[in-house]
Amino acid sequence: MTEYDAFFLTELDQVAQDTEQEMVIRDLTEGRAKYRCIYVMARLSDDPAKYADRLWPRLGRGQWVGQPWSVDVVSAVEKIPEAWR
């Protein structure tokens, strides 16, 4: 299981669950690359057991919520045009 966190700019009860959505998650794996950000298409659930990986929600100003969610990372999203990568 990989652990991620993500920032939500709305109240958590307004976050869409179980539908694919584009978002940024941060990989919390210990080591030099901790907090690496990734644009992904993913499904979320406030049920921590529903999807394979764990997601720790944070609010818009970085507040730690403390209750884990789960996340299904469907695919990575590339935001930078190929010519400039």
Binding site: V24, A33, K34, C37, G62, W64, K79, W84
Partner: protein, 479 residues
């Protein structure tokens, strides 16, 4: 007599150690919050700079925290005695920066320590640098907290050194706000973006202290020439690996790349210089990395924005105030001094003037608010020459007794601001809309001498012979 200055960060570290303004931290520290927490506490206590000798996961790297967060360290950086009074530090800065700019010299890469290790393309990974997680809740690791970004105008070639925060997104991508009224913002948004051309940049970490002060200053000339003025001789630069920009040859670390037009990515939140995490997580400017170079045993720099006093607050206040003083004097305003309080996070400036004519306070406020310095501060207090602008007690006394709430508070709405102002409504933060206020603490010029209140103090209420007698006998009285 020549100017004393430190050619690189390492000479400055030695000077801080010699003056008792540095602590060598031998114990290993974690880049993930621990290093940031130490630096934050140092800033709040106005303590000595921590020099971290061992960083978890990053053998071979060191880090220096809070390099210039006190006036003592600023005085040392300028080659002055550590206990030099603030007005004298200001006079030294003004004297050095009021002449002609000194153009830099370009040195061969063999004479540039920053070229000792070079990583290009995919070999250049931001995660190979000990970028700290500065505060819990930040949107990412911020490599650039005490640094400067070098960029050049695509048409004129004019060089800008500026401090724009940069968050690590992934191995080769950083993201950060570039405000449109900033020097680099004008280059990027007015020229590069309309042409869909990337703007080359170089992030310099661990430059010498005067280069850092120059990058903080709202200089009217290119900062590399401004830095030469402060040094009294040309600053030594070396060409980048992947573009034509020139960077300080003695810097610790340089990150080269391009700022991408037409691409925005999410950045923030971040603990900011106002002492709050204010600006929203939002789409911000993208820096794509092409190369990283560094010295042997490179030293990462860590500033930590929060409640006062960090180096951004101190140096921006210092240089904004003194550049404002130059502006007002150039207009012939009979000011007696300008002091921007670091504790105000460079939002509040106190300006002393002779009360020479009606409306002078308003003229002063409109000049400084209307200048390029304007978006960075919001409150002006104008006092007369009897008030010591560096003495907070005197300023508060003048403000509380001479500023008539009904007639002497002047509000300017719909001004240029930044998304970082905690007091502005969220909708105004999003577009960087601000507001300003003048507190006019001058007694009206048309009050007669019999109507004007007289200040009651030891200095103003006794004949000279009585004051001299009291001072001469002070210890005899038992004090």
């Amino acid at each position: 007599m020549g100017i004393t200055y430190y050619k690189d960060n390492r000479e400055f570290i030695n000077a801080l150690r010699a003056s008792g303004d540095l602590v060598d931290v031998q114990q290993e520290v974690d880049w993930d919050l621990e290093m940031g927490a130490i630096v934050r506490r140092v800033c709040e206590m106005k303590e000595r700079s921590p020099y971290f000798k061992s960083i978890k996961d990053y053998a071979g790297f060191e880090a220096l925290g809070a390099p210039l967060a006190t006036y003592r360290k600023l005085a040392i950086a300028l080659g002055l005695a550590p206990d030099t009074p603030i007005p004298d530090i200001g006079k030294e800065y003004t004297a050095r920066t009021s002449g002609q700019g000194i153009k830099p010299v370009v040195v061969d890469r063999s004479a540039a320590p920053v070229k000792r290790h070079v990583f290009l393309g995919d070999d250049a990974s931001l995660f190979d640098l000990p970028g700290p997680m500065v505060h819990d809740g930040d949107g990412g690791r911020y490599l650039a907290t005490w640094h400067m970004i070098v960029a050049a105008d695509p048409d004129t070639g004019d060089v800008n050194w500026g401090m724009y925060r940069q968050m690590v997104h992934d191995e080769r991508t950083m993201v950060g706000p570039v405000l449109p009224f900033s020097d680099m913002g004008k280059m990027f948004y007015n020229k590069s973006v309309p042409r869909n051309q990337p703007l080359p940049f170089a992030t310099v970490i661990g430059m010498d202290p005067l280069a850092g002060i120059s990058a903080c200053a709202p200089a009217a000339i290119p900062e590399d020439e401004f830095c030469g003025m402060m040094m009294g001789e040309p600053v030594e630069l070396v060409k980048c690996e992947t573009n034509d920009l020139l960077v300080p040859a003695h810097a610790e670390i340089v990150i080269e790349g391009e700022i991408l037009p037409g691409v925005m990515m999410l950045e923030a939140p971040f603990g900011e210089y106002t002492g709050y995490r204010t600006s929203p997580r939002d789409d911000r400017t993208v820096y794509r990395v092409k190369a990283i170079t560094y010295r042997d045993k490179p030293i990462m720099m860590v500033s930590n924005m929060g409640i006062p006093t960090d180096e951004g607050q101190l140096l921006r206040s210092f240089s904004l105030g003194l550049e404002m003083e130059k502006l007002l004097r150039s207009q012939g305003i009979p000011i007696t001094g300008v002091y921007m309080l670091p504790e105000s996070t460079h939002h509040l400036v106190v300006i002393g003037t002779r009360n020479a004519y009606a409306g002078i306070a308003s003229q002063i406020a409109q000049l400084v608010f209307g200048s390029k310095l304007g978006p960075w501060f919001h409150q002006v207090i104008v006092v007369d020459q009897t008030v010591d602008i560096y003495n907070v007690n005197e300023v508060i006394h003048a403000f509380s007794t001479r500023c008539n709430p009904a007639t002497d508070i002047h509000i300017y709405r719909n001004s240029a601001g930044t998304p970082l102002n905690p007091f502005t409504p969220p909708e105004d933060r999003r577009v960087g809309r601000g507001s300003k206020v003048l507190f006019d603490c001058l007694f009206p010029i048309d009050w007669t001498r019999t109507d004007t209140p007289i200040l009651v103090s030891f200095n103003t209420s006794y004949p000279e012979d009585v004051k001299e007698k009291v001072l001469a006998n002070w210890q005899n009285y038992g004090y």
